[in-house]
Every structure is written in C-alpha cells, then in structure tokens.
C-alpha cells in the first residue's frame, strides 16, 4: 500500500476538485502497481501526452480539462502531431488533424505552456541539481537526470499530466539517491581522441550504450576535453531510443560524477566495459541500414535542433543549396531567435524547411511513403524506418550537408577506420 499524508488523502476525496481526484486516483493506483511506498512533491513537469495516437487520448485530456483541471507546477509540453506555425506541412487526414488540434488545445486549457518541444531544457525549462520533477519523453528524461541532475523516472503518457495536476510523483526509481549510482563503467580510454571529439561520435555512443546496458545506469570514463550540451543531448537521445537509459554519468562532466567514486556511490567492484572502435562502427552500420547511393531527404533535429546547431548548419552550407528536401525540426524558442538574427532567409535560400512544434518521426511530413532519409540523429535513424516508411542512414551533420547538395550519400570515413 502507498502511504499517503493528510493533504494527499484529502485530494483523493475532495468533491470540489474532481479533476484532481481523478488525477490522484490514477497516480495512487500506478504507485501501487510499481510498489512505490509513498508520493513525493515535484517542482515541474514535462508532458509527452499531447501527441495524438488516437481519439481516446483526446477524450482523456478534455475530461480533465472539463472537470476544471489546472496544473499545479510549471509544465512544458512535448511535441504535438501538427506544426501550428506552418499549417499544411503535416499531411494528416481531416479527422486526425482536427483531433490532434483538439488534443493540443486541451493541454493548453489545463494550463501547460505552448512549448511544443522535446528539448524543453534548451527552451528555458531547466530544473536544478537534486530537484524532483515529473518529466515524460525519453530524451527529455535522460537529459534532466544526467545533464541537469534533476530527478525523474521515465514516466508514461497519461500519468505525466496527472502528476502535473497534483504536483506529486511516485517515490521510487531515480528519485531515490542510491538508485542513481552507476552500476557499470564504460571505459573509452582506448578510443582515439579525434573520434571521441567528433560530433558524430556522441549519437553513436548513445545508441551503443542503449543497446548494451538496457535500463542500467552507466558511468563513462576516458572521455576528456570539452563536451557540449548538444553532444550530451545526442548521446542521451540515442541511449533512450535503442535502450531505456534514464540516467548516465560522465566522469568530470556531468553533475553527479565529479569522480568515479562519486558516480558509483563508492562501490569499487562495478563491471567495466571497454568497447572498441569496431564496436562503434558496427553501431553506426546498424543505424545506417546498408544504404548506398541516392538519398531523398535529410532530416535533423531529434531532439529539436538548438540555435547553435542551426548556426553550425548554416556555416556548413556555405551559401549552397540542397538538392533534396532538408528538414530541420526545432521549436518556437529557436525560431524566434533565428527571426531576430535574420537567419530565416539564408536558411530558406539553402533549401532548408523548418518544422516547428512537431517532427518528421511523429507526423506525416516526408513526401510519399518510402525513400531514403539521411540524418545525424541516432533517434531519427532508429525510429525512422518504422514510423515513416523511409529507410534511414546516419552521418555527421557535415556528411548530411554534403550529401544533400549532391543528392548522393557522401560520408567522411576517415575517423571511423579501425584496422
């Protein structure tokens, strides 16, 4: 049984607040199923439930809203199934379009912010080290835990809004300090520095980690030099796509891993893995599905592209124009900054199509139903074939740009030689 305090007990029976009663009932039942001993207060929520999967999700959100529900904590929204800025970009049937819009509106009606991004942490929503939060969406969860040091589990759709309404989460898993300690080490000291410092290494490393550790908490050692937040974002998203990683540590870089001892909680006998360059080449091949020759489009921005990533892209394009559609999935926060810096015109001239509020993996945006999509995102490469019908091939952002200019796959293989 879950032990509830007086306030929580009252929330379960308060007839003047029916939305909170419903949310609390769902939360307590879930806490019982997972065996959480109690609930814990959370200071913010990130909600993944706003993406349309069918009409039932719309009715659920509308019911909570119509019962008068309002979120109790700062709550950002993950992507929806529509680009509200560019109507017509998403080619859904009329019923699906109307219901996706109703679902997005219902969550706004519940008091959530119109952030529509899977990278809320780069759109001003950054909980502090040690803060308990209730976040959904796998990449957002792993970033919040690993890079910010906030504490959340991988919460499912439907529970996320319930936790936001009552400001509480089940106390288990990664909310508990001991469970945040690394259980195995991934030692990269044998990997050549140029590869480790390359931009395309991080998504591949993440995908390899996810496939190897499942849902364990790994600590990475032997990764020196400066590591950007965008690289950590790519690593986390990869690990949460091929696996179910909710937290990773990098000694000397992430906030709970000043030393190896801190990351492991003092445990000396943890297992250590020493992957080779060949292991990472194989992972890169898995993300590339044997694609050769012609490509039909490039899609980047899973998680949503940041402003620095977009600037970097413009630099690589050097005023040239892509021959195939080049989709950059990002959010309103970045769009505003691009507008302010007068960068929308250069992007348009280069053939870049901005996708806002959503992305090519969750909404029908790509033309036709098959083809080849090139990407620098492990997450797009992993989910692309199932969700879009397109075959996917992984490369660095520079590879993506050079391939988009000619319409043919071109990858710089030098870094990945291992013989």
């Amino acid at each position: 049984m879950v032990s509830l305090n007086d306030t929580e007990k009252q929330l379960l029976t308060d007839e003047t607040q029916p939305a909170l009663v419903m949310a609390m009932r769902i939360l307590v039942k879930t806490a019982e199923i997972i065996g959480a001993p109690s609930l814990i207060s959370v200071s913010s929520a990130h909600i993944d439930g706003c993406l349309y999967h069918g009409d039932s999700g719309v009715y659920f959100a509308e019911k909570l809203r119509d019962l008068g529900g309002k979120v109790a904590v700062e709550s950002t929204l993950n992507v929806g199934a529509l680009d509200l800025i560019h109507p017509g970009l998403v080619r859904s049937a009329p019923h699906q379009t109307a219901m996706a819009r109703r679902q997005m509106q219902a969550y706004l009606g519940l008091g959530c912010k119109a952030s529509w991004t899977c990278a809320p942490y780069q759109a001003g929503h950054r909980p502090a080290l040690g803060e308990d939060v209730a976040w959904g969406e796998s990449n957002a969860v792993v970033f919040a835990n690993s890079v910010l040091g906030a504490r959340t589990n991988r919460y499912g759709d439907l529970l996320d809004i319930c936790m936001a309404l009552v400001g509480r989460a089940p106390y288990y898993g990664l909310h508990v300090s001991e469970n945040r300690h690394a259980r195995l080490e991934i030692d990269l000291s044998n990997i050549p520095a140029p590869l480790k410092q390359s931009e395309s290494f991080f998504p591949v490393l993440g995908a390899w980690i996810g496939r190897t550790v499942g849902s364990d908490v790994p600590v990475i050692t032997g990764l020196n030099g400066s590591i950007t937040e965008d690289q950590l974002k790519a690593l986390g998203a990869g690990s949460a796509s091929t696996g179910a990683v909710g937290l990773f540590h990098i000694v000397g870089r992430t906030p709970e891993a000043g030393t190896l001892a801190q990351a492991t909680g003092g445990s000396r006998n943890i297992e250590s893995l020493t992957p080779s360059v060949q292991d990472f080449c194989m992972e890169r091949d898995r993300l590339s599905h044997g694609v050769q020759g012609e490509i039909n489009c490039v899609a980047v921005g899973s998680p949503h592209f940041s402003y620095p990533e977009t600037r970097h892209l413009l630099g690589l394009l050097k005023g040239r124009k892509a021959r195939v559609p080049f989709y950059v999935c990002t959010n309103r926060f970045v769009l505003t900054k691009l507008e302010d810096e007068q960068l929308l015109e250069p992007l348009k001239n280069a053939g870049v199509e901005l996708v806002i509020d959503t992305c090519v993996a969750v909404a029908p945006i790509l033309k036709g139903s098959s083809g080849v999509m090139m990407t620098n995102s492990a997450k797009f490469a992993h989910y692309g074939p199932g969700n879009t019908g397109y075959q996917s091939v992984f490369g660095s952002l520079e590879d993506c740009v050079e391939s988009a200019i000619t319409g043919h796959l071109a990858r710089d293989e030098a870094l990945w030689q291992h013989t």
């Binding site: 419903m22 009932r25 769902i26 039942k29 879930t30 199923i33 997972i34 065996g35 993944d48 439930g49 993406l51 999967h53 069918g54 009409d55 039932s56 999700g57 009715y59 659920f60 019911k63 959904g136 969406e137 796998s138 991988r154 919460y155 499912g156 759709d157 439907l158 529970l159 179910a244 989910y383 074939p385 199932g386 969700n387």
Partner: protein, 134 residues
C-alpha cells in the same frame, strides 16, 4: 485436465481467452497498431499476429513511454487483449488499463506470472481473486 495458478493481480478483473505468448518483447507504441491490434514491428517474430481478445503473455518489457496511450486506444476501440500477463510490473502499460477504467472503457485485468506459466494455445480463465485456470 484443470490446473490452477495463483497470480499477483496488478489491475483487477476477470477474463478468459486463448493464450498468446509473444516470442519477443514488443513496444506497444510503434509495435502494435492502434487501429487493428496487430503486431506491426517488421522484425518481430510475431509480426502480423492480432492480440485482440487473447490472454497476452509478454516475455519482457521494452519500449516507449507512449505505450500507455496505445493500450488505452485499444481498450477504447474494444480491440484490446482480454488480459495481459507479465513477469515484472510494467507501470507504463498498466497505466493504459488504469486510465481506461477511469474513462469508463471496458476494463482489462493485468497480472504477474512466472515466465513459463503460460504457453500459446492454452485456454486460460482468470478469476477475480487472481486464480488462473487452464
């Protein structure tokens, strides 16, 4: 010949149906069609099989946090499994059944059993006290 197994109920209810034990774990989001309740993950050994009305035995947990929304949709459309059996409690999937109950959609029990307790082709009956009979 009747056999009885005591299960741990995660979501209450009674059910009966043919057992379908999947050969590999599946993520409901991306792996099960919310339109037809068939397995759509191209490289899944049970791809093309319909899970509707079965006592579905899941041999492990993988997958997206949106699986709860897909199960809710199956229950809403009345094409969900009759019951779901699993080895470890999967909070995300169970959530779909908990919310369906809140929304007044047909309830679906979920319960825990040891990995080898159920085999495809058996006809299983689950009583409300958690007793499973073959």
């Amino acid at each position: 010949m009747a056999a009885h197994v005591k299960t741990r109920m995660l979501v209450g209810g009674k059910a009966e149906g043919s057992v379908l034990r999947l050969a590999a774990p599946v993520s409901f989001w991306g792996g099960v069609s919310p339109e037809t309740a068939t397995i759509i993950q191209a490289d899944h050994p049970d791809c093309g099989t319909c899970i509707s009305g079965t006592v579905l035995m899941l041999p492990g947990m993988i997958g997206s946090s949106s699986s709860s929304a897909v199960l809710l949709e199956l229950l809403y459309k009345n094409i969900a499994p009759a019951a779901i059996a699993m080895v470890d409690a999967d909070a995300i999937l169970a959530l779909g059944a908990v919310v369906a109950d809140e929304m007044g959609y047909p309830a679906m029990p979920m319960f825990l059993v040891p990995m080898d307790a159920l085999q495809t082709g058996q006809y299983a009956k689950l009583a409300e006290d958690g007793t499973l009979s073959f």
